[in-house]
Structures are given as structure tokens and as C-alpha cells.
Amino acid sequence: MTTERTLLEIAVLVVIVTPAVLVATLGAPALLRRPLREAAVSRLTRAAMVIAFVAAAFALVVYFATRSTPQVLSYGTWFSFGTGGFSFDFLVDGLSLGFAALATGVCGVVAAFSGRYLHREPGYNRYFVLFAVFVTGIVLVALAGSIEVLFTGWELLGLSSALLVGFFHERRAPVVNALYVFAVYRVSDAAMLAAAVLLHHWAGSGSLALLFSGEGVPPSPLQLDQATLIAVLLIAAVAGKSALLPFSGWLPRAMEGPTPSSAVYYGALSIHAGCFLLLRAEPLLEHSLLARILAVLAGAATALYATFAARVQTDVKSALSYAALTQVGIIVVEIACGLTTLAFVHIVGHACFRLLQFLSAPNILHDLHELENALGGPVEAVEPHEASTSVRSRLYLLALERGFVDEAIDRLVVAPYYRVADQLDRLDRLLCGDRTTRGGPAATTPASTSVARDDEGRRGSPP
């Protein structure tokens, strides 16, 4: 038993530390204006991913081979304070190790692909630094044993995601869209932090093992209403990170990033991080009917919305992202219905499949030409239906405008915010004897009413 635990501790430590070391190894020379060469960056990244994957797979094998029970591996205390402390705790079970192995495996594939795909791209090193930050975040989310570790991983995911959406930062659209994505993530993060604080407040501990153990009704020291509130906050956090309604508007905007990052974030891992969290919190959901209903509604509505929106997208990455969102919605419903094994298998299968689709997306014209060459002529396009009914037209418009979700948020949240902020700003100026109105909202704020267009007026993602 001790040997098995020691092996698990070493393996998990390697999984966590490897990407963090990679961040420092790639980032520090770049900041000192001595960036590593492309080949070195690519090799280091691939090596780190292989090490992390082997360690995660090894831990998984050890866990199942020794028929271990879920356990918390503690690597010391960061700091402690009144209602508990912040310790480096990692929860090891089949779910966490499985997701960690999936994450490191997928990241290894993407790292290998990115090394060639981004060859001679300005910002090559920056991409891999952010990619390493992402890997650090996702393994922290996967293996987190305390809500603070989970929150740390969650934040790292959000930040790296936003910065990679704005990777082509010389153009305006990616930057504007990155800010929008980050705005939604901040809402998600705030919900997560609120859940963490309430957990500390009520349970006196941030242990996920305590929260998600499923022992007792409701779990551990929480009252039913407390468990419900925490579950609802977690669902809000999940909705933000996994683009569930009403936060779906950021997904097409996120396609501004490089294709490999879109693949790993919005096809494979980041978009499933919310599902994973929900899966983790399933014991909590079991005791909260309200939270389950909320999750079913959000998942089902998102699946329906995304399947409509996916059918009218004009670029392949947006279409794929909505297709991924459809599956995510279904996975959320599965989790809320208690079908956890099915949901996990769904996550793994969907992540791998969508990763392949995203990575092959830039090649789609080439594939089409090959197909046409093989057929000896052009592939016939599907003709649109001639007979257009009123319902179909409305559905089409609804899908084309992405359910008017962005407009609704603009009208209900952004516009009132600007009105109030404007009045307050004027008042502050007036209090200082300034009657001019030099302020005003910046054009780069997330108030734009639709997906930002880049300087060339194109919409959607770069090739």
C-alpha cells in the first residue's frame, strides 16, 4: 500500500511539475530577449508532454492494477488562515487520472502538430509558453484535491485561453474577441471563487474529497440548501467555461486563435473542463434537485441552440465549435441524469474525435481537391431547399444570428452598464468642477454587438 502510494505521489508530481517547468524554461529566455530556437522549443515541449503523459498513464495503471481507492495526495501547505488553509492536495481516482491521461495525451498530439503548423510564425515561442500554461492549468483541474487548486487551474485555463485567442494581436478582431472571451471567463471564475469561499465558510475546508465524496446526505458537513447553492454556483462556473447558454456567445469569437489552440481548447479539453467539474461534483448534484434541473435545462437548451447554429456557419472552425457545443450540452444532460460513466466515455470519445476534426480543418480544401481528383470532377454541392416556409426562415435567421444571445446580453447587461458608468463618470467629473465629457467607453470593450470583425472585414477565424 505504501509503495503504491509513493508511486502515485511521484507520478502525479511529475504530471503537475513538468508543464510548470516547461513554462519557466520557455518563458524566461524569451523575456531576457534570448528566446530558444524553434526546434528547441518544439523538442522541449514534445519531451515534456511525453513525460507528463507517461507519468499520467503510469499513475492510472498503478491505480487500477493495485485496485486502489480514491485518495488525497498532499504535497504540503501553501499557507493557512482562519477557516482552513491552502494546501497542495490532489485527489487521485479513476476519474481524475483518466482525465489527466487524456489531457496530457491530447496535448502531446497538439504539441507535435503545432511545432510544424506554426513554423516560422511570429510569436512561435509565445504560443508554446501559453500552451504550457494551459497544460499546467488542465492537469491542475484534473487532479485538484482542494477547491483552491481547482481554482488555480481554472484561472490558468481562462487566462491562457484569452491570450491565445488574441494570439494574432496585430489584428484588431482577435484582441477584441479575446477580451470578450475573458469577460465571460471572469464571470465563470467569480462563480467558482464564490463557491470556494462558501465551501470554506460552511464546511471549514476546501477539500474536494470532502465536497465530492458523496458520503452522507447531503455531502459531509453541508446542509441541503448550502449544497444547493454551491452546486448552482459550480454550474454557473461550468456554464461560463463550457459555453453553455447564456454564455455561448464567446465560442465563435474564440476561433480567432491558431487552429491547434482552437483544437485543444474548444474541441478537446477546455470546453470539457466544465463537464469534468460537473462530473466531479455529481455527488453534490445528487442531493440537489434544483441544481440537477438547472443543469438539465442548461445542457438541453445549449445542445438545441448549438445544433441549429452549427448548420448555418460559414467557416469550418465555427461550425466545428458549435458541433462540439452540441455534444457538450448532451454530456451535461447525461451528468445531470446521473449517467456518469456514459458521460465520461462521451467526453473521452468526443474530445479525441473533435480534436481530429479541428486539426484536419486547415487541410479540408486540400482533401476536397484530392477527392475531386480521385472522382474526376467536382463534388456536387447540396442544393438548398427551394420551398422556404415561414418557420424555416425564422429558424434560419435565429441560427444565423446565433439565437440573438449576444444582442440580449448587450441589451440587458452591457448597455445598462455603459449608461450607468457614463452617468457616474460625469458626476465624478462634475464634482471636480469639470463640465467636459472627455470620457466614454473605449471601442475595444466587450460591448460590440456581434463577433468583432478584423481590419479586413472578415468574420470568423484565420486559416
Binding site: 499557507f79 511570429p122 490558468l156 496585430e170 484582441v175 469561499v197 467629473r429 471636480c432
Partner: protein, 536 residues
């Protein structure tokens, strides 16, 4: 054992060297180099005092006729203020190291040195009269920096608000230190005057309007030297927290919580980088104030950590803006200015500093915010969540600034790379915030001792010697003190046994607002005698 007088002389001499040098014929760049050297030395001296427990607590007593107004000691450095003097020294170093050459002048360097001296002086005293003097002196220095015609409007605004706060502060001090005014209406009025003065100085709603105005139309450098050390918070801890009623503190805490959200929300709205920075300061300053008034140990500890974190991080951000302005002129946040490729270190430092302001994991700000949120929610179950909202909005405002200032197509303007001095300074601040976020134990332990001291001083209605406190903390380990139950934390006056109970068993527990103990009753534990601060 360090000689207190020698330490004080050293602390005073280093800025005074610059004051003297600025009057000589030395080239201004030489004066700057000398300033950097003196600032480095000052940081070293203050860090030494902070790092060595035996050096951390000393005082220079003052007892001519036991004047209440002057207090029991002229100067005192304890667990609470030992880190604040490091912060003041670090802010001076940052100021002189990264001020662009175009903004460099002898008068500015002289004012920076004098402002640092005043701040150090403030943090090293608990004497009400000396605090009034330093409060007025710092204001005078600040207003002098705004004397150029272009800054006249800002000067008028600052003079109006801060002049009023100085008058209120002086009046409040007079009222609360009247020997015959104890526990009377006069003291209550005095406390509210002190609260009003602190609110104005800290830019807490509804007295916040001067901050963005001064940042926008005034001079950013002097504004930072004046605001970033947060002497208003120090005065709050020293004079208000031990005296004010719980209701008054709750009122101030709620105002601060609202201000934190307000500032962050308006920082996101602005299109001018300086004004946005001003609102960001309002928000950060209010977050610090929130914890000081929450009267829960966690919130107080979070607030003290945030004080250090946001002081460094916010100053770093504002200095980044100054550095960019020197290259590009006024910065409009509605445009994308580009330049990441030319200044990746500045961009990354800006991002790290901004993230530290938002409480991002891995930075010192995270520790402070996590503790503060926890304590604030404990004290105010609903309004406490404003801290989370403020953090979210601040994060958005910071990232928007980052995208605007460093992303976008390169324009026609020449992009000058960072000078080595600037690169080292910004890189060092970012590394300090990251390193202290990853390994926060020393800072948390230090702030824990300070929080214990503040709570104890409130429980007894007075400040006490740090010597006992640091012994208690050392005896129980750096963080064990927090293993107490939450219930005991909530009712801190009962949870923290009064010093008198431990050290003066014969006299019993000194009731709150009781008479000030005579010197013979006061515990004398070390060479740094714990004198009774007969402030009240």
C-alpha cells in the same frame, strides 16, 4: 541589537542625501543614479529590519510631561510597520529607477526623496501629533508637485479634498486626545472626523472623485508617491480601529466594499489610461480598507497582505503607463498601440502586475484576496461578495489595458525598447510578486503578527508592544494561531486575550476604553519597553 537611533538616522539620511545632491551642480542623471543607489540602500536597511525578528521592534520613547497628543513614543517600528517601511522604500526605488528621462528634474527627485522620508516617518510613528504633521507635510509636497500651470486644476481639486481631510484629521486628533474627552461626545465626534479624513485621503466613495482627476490631469509620478503607500490606511489602523465602535467600522467597511466595485467598474469604462489607473487605485485602496474594518482575523490578514501586494503591483502598472507615455504620449485605451514585440518584458511585467492586482493565483494578490474574500463574506454574508465582483471587474480592466497598450498593429511611431534600468526594475517587481505568491509564508507570518497586534490593540483600545506579540507568534508557529475556531475569530475581543491579562495578572484585564495604564503597570518585556500609548 540594532541601535534605534542609528537606524532612524540611516533612514533619514539616505533621502536627505538626495535632497542635498539636488541642490548641487551634479547632472540630473547623476542625481538619479545617486537616488537609485540610496533607494537600494534604503530597501536593504528596511529589509534587514523586517527580516531579523530581534530588530523588528523598537521605539524611541518620549515622555516630557506625558503628553497625550504627542503619544508615548516618537518613533516605533513594530511587526505592523516593519513591512510598510520596506514598501515605502521599494516605491521610492521604483520611482527613481523608471522615471523617464524626459520627466526627470532635480525638483522631482528632491520631492520623491522628501515624500519617501515623510512616508517612512509616518510609518515609524504612532504619535498623533506627529501623524498630523506628516499628513500635512506629505500633502504640501504633493501640492507643490502640481504647481505647474497645466496641473492647476488638479492642484485645486487635490487642495480642496485633501486640505479638508487634513483639517478634519487635525480636529479629530485634537478631540480624541483631549485628556478630559474620553468616552464622551467629543471623542465620538473626533472619531467620526478621523474616519471622514481617512475616507477622503483613501478615496473612498463618496469622497473618491479627486483620485481619478489627479491621476488624469495632475502628475502621475507624485500622485503615486502620495497615494500608493496608503498612509490613510495606516492612520486608520493606528487611530481609528482601536477606538471606533463596531457599527462605525461596519459602516466604513460597507462603504469600502461599494467603492471597490465602483472603482473597478469605472476603470473598465474609461478610455484614458491615466484615469482608468486612477479608478483602479480607488478600487484597490478600498479593498485594503475593507479588511481593516471587517474586524475578522482573516479579512484583516488579507487586507494587510493586499496592502503590500497592491501597493507594489498598482505602482508598477502606473509606472508602466508612465514609461509608455514617454514613448507614445497620452494613451487612449480605445486604440491598440502595439509594441509587444519591442517590449515583451514590459508587456509581461504589466500583465503579471495587473494579475497581482486582480488576485490571480500564483501572485501575492491571490493570497490577499482569498483571505479578504473569506473574511469579508464572514463579516458581511451578502455584501462580502462585492470583493469577488471587484476582482472580476479589475481583471477585465487590466486585461483591456494590456490589450490596448501592447497589442495591435505597429504604428508609425518609433518603438524604443526598454532601457536596462527599466527592464530590471519592472522585471524585479514582477518576480517579487510571483515569488511571494508562490512562497508566501514569510509575508503571511509577518502580516499575521501585525493582524494579531491590531486585533489586540482594538480589544484593549490601544496599541501594544509588538515584542510580546512576536514572541507569541514564534512560540505557536507562523500560522498556528489561525487554527482557532471560527466562532472565536468572530468574537475577536473575547478570543484575543488582552495583553493585560497575560502580562499583568495583578491588575486584571483592562476593560475596553478603560483608563490608560501607568508606566508601572505596563509590561516591560525587552529592551524595547512597551510603554502605554496614552493617546486617548
Amino acid at each position: 541589537m540594532i541601535e534605534p537611533l542609528a537606524w532612524l538616522v540611516c533612514v533619514a539620511a539616505l533621502p536627505l542625501v538626495i535632497v542635498f545632491a539636488s541642490h548641487t551642480r551634479l547632472h540630473v542623471e547623476r542625481v538619479r543614479s545617486l537616488s537609485v543607489g540610496c533607494a537600494v540602500a534604503l530597501v536593504g536597511v528596511t529589509v534587514l529590519v523586517f527580516a531579523v525578528p530581534d530588530l523588528r521592534a523598537f521605539e524611541i520613547p518620549f515622555d516630557p510631561g506625558q503628553s497625550v497628543l504627542l503619544g508615548p513614543s516618537l518613533f516605533r517600528v513594530d511587526a505592523f510597520s516593519s513591512m510598510l517601511v520596506v514598501l515605502a522604500a521599494a516605491l521610492w526605488l521604483l520611482a527613481v529607477a523608471v522615471t523617464p528621462r524626459t520627466r526627470l528634474d532635480r525638483a522631482g527627485l528632491r520631492r520623491a526623496a522628501l515624500a519617501t522620508l515623510t512616508t517612512m516617518f509616518t510609518f515609524a510613528t504612532v504619535s498623533p501629533a506627529l501623524l498630523v504633521l506628516s499628513w500635512a507635510a506629505s500633502l504640501w509636497l504633493f501640492l507643490a508637485a502640481l504647481s505647474a500651470p497645466a496641473n492647476r486644476h488638479a492642484q485645486r481639486v487635490a487642495a480642496g479634498y485633501l486640505g479638508a481631510s487634513t483639517l478634519l484629521f487635525a480636529a479629530g486628533v485634537v478631540l480624541v486626545t483631549r485628556p478630559d474627552g474620553r468616552d464622551g461626545v467629543g471623542e465620538q465626534v473626533g472619531i467620526w472626523l478621523l474616519i471622514a479624513a481617512a475616507l477622503i485621503r483613501k478615496g473612498i466613495f463618496p469622497f473618491h472623485a479627486w483620485v481619478p482627476e489627479v491621476f488624469d490631469r495632475g502628475r502621475l509620478g507624485p500622485a503615486l508617491m502620495f497615494s500608493a503607500p496608503q498612509t490613510g490606511a495606516y492612520v486608520t489602523v493606528v487611530l481609528i480601529v482601536p477606538r471606533a465602535s463596531p457599527e462605525a467600522l461596519r459602516f466604513v467597511a460597507i462603504l469600502a466594499l461599494v467603492t471597490a466595485c465602483y472603482g473597478a467598474a469605472l476603470a473598465l469604462y474609461q478610455r484614458d489610461a491615466r484615469r482608468s489607473c486612477g479608478y483602479l487605485f480607488v478600487s484597490q485602496s478600498a479593498l485594503v480598507m475593507t479588511g481593516l474594518e471587517c474586524t475578522s482575523k482573516g479579512a484583516l490578514l488579507g487586507s494587510l497582505v493586499l496592502w503590500i501586494s497592491s501597493g507594489l503591483a498598482f505602482t508598477g502598472i502606473a509606472r508602466c503607463i508612465l514609461v509608455l507615455e514617454a514613448r507614445r504620449g497620452r494613451l487612449d485605451l480605445s486604440r491598440h498601440h502595439g509594441g509587444y514585440e519591442q517590449m515583451p518584458l514590459l508587456a509581461t511585467s504589466f500583465l503579471v502586475l495587473g494579475l497581482a492586482c486582480t488576485g490571480f493565483p500564483g501572485t501575492l494578490g491571490f493570497i490577499g484576496e482569498e483571505l479578504l474574500v473569506d473574511g469579508a463574506v464572514e463579516a458581511f454574508p451578502i455584501v462580502g461578495f462585492f470583493v469577488i465582483a471587484a476582482g472580476a471587474l479589475t481583471g477585465l480592466a487590466v486585461l483591456r489595458m494590456y490589450f490596448s497598450l501592447f497589442c495591435g498593429r505597429r504604428g508609425e511611431a518609433v518603438h524604443l525598447p526598454l532601457r536596462p534600468r527599466e527592464a530590471i526594475s519592472f522585471g524585479a517587481v514582477a518576480v517579487v510578486l510571483l515569488a511571494s505568491g508562490i512562497a508566501p509564508a514569510p509575508i503571511v507570518a509577518s502580516r499575521l503578527a501585525a493582524a494579531e497586534l491590531i486585533l489586540r490593540s482594538r480589544a484593549e483600545g490601544r496599541r501594544v508592544s509588538l515584542v510580546l506579540d512576536s514572541r507569541a507568534v514564534r512560540a505557536s508557529g507562523p500560522c498556528d494561531v489561525y487554527s482557532s475556531s471560527r466562532a472565536s475569530e468572530r468574537s475577536w475581543p473575547a478570543a484575543v486575550p488582552p495583553l493585560a491579562k497575560r502580562a499583568r495578572p495583578t491588575t486584571g484585564a483592562a476593560p475596553r476604553r478603560a483608563r490608560a495604564p501607568t508606566r508601572s503597570e505596563t509590561p516591560s518585556c525587552t529592551a524595547t519597553t512597551a510603554r502605554s500609548p496614552r493617546i486617548r
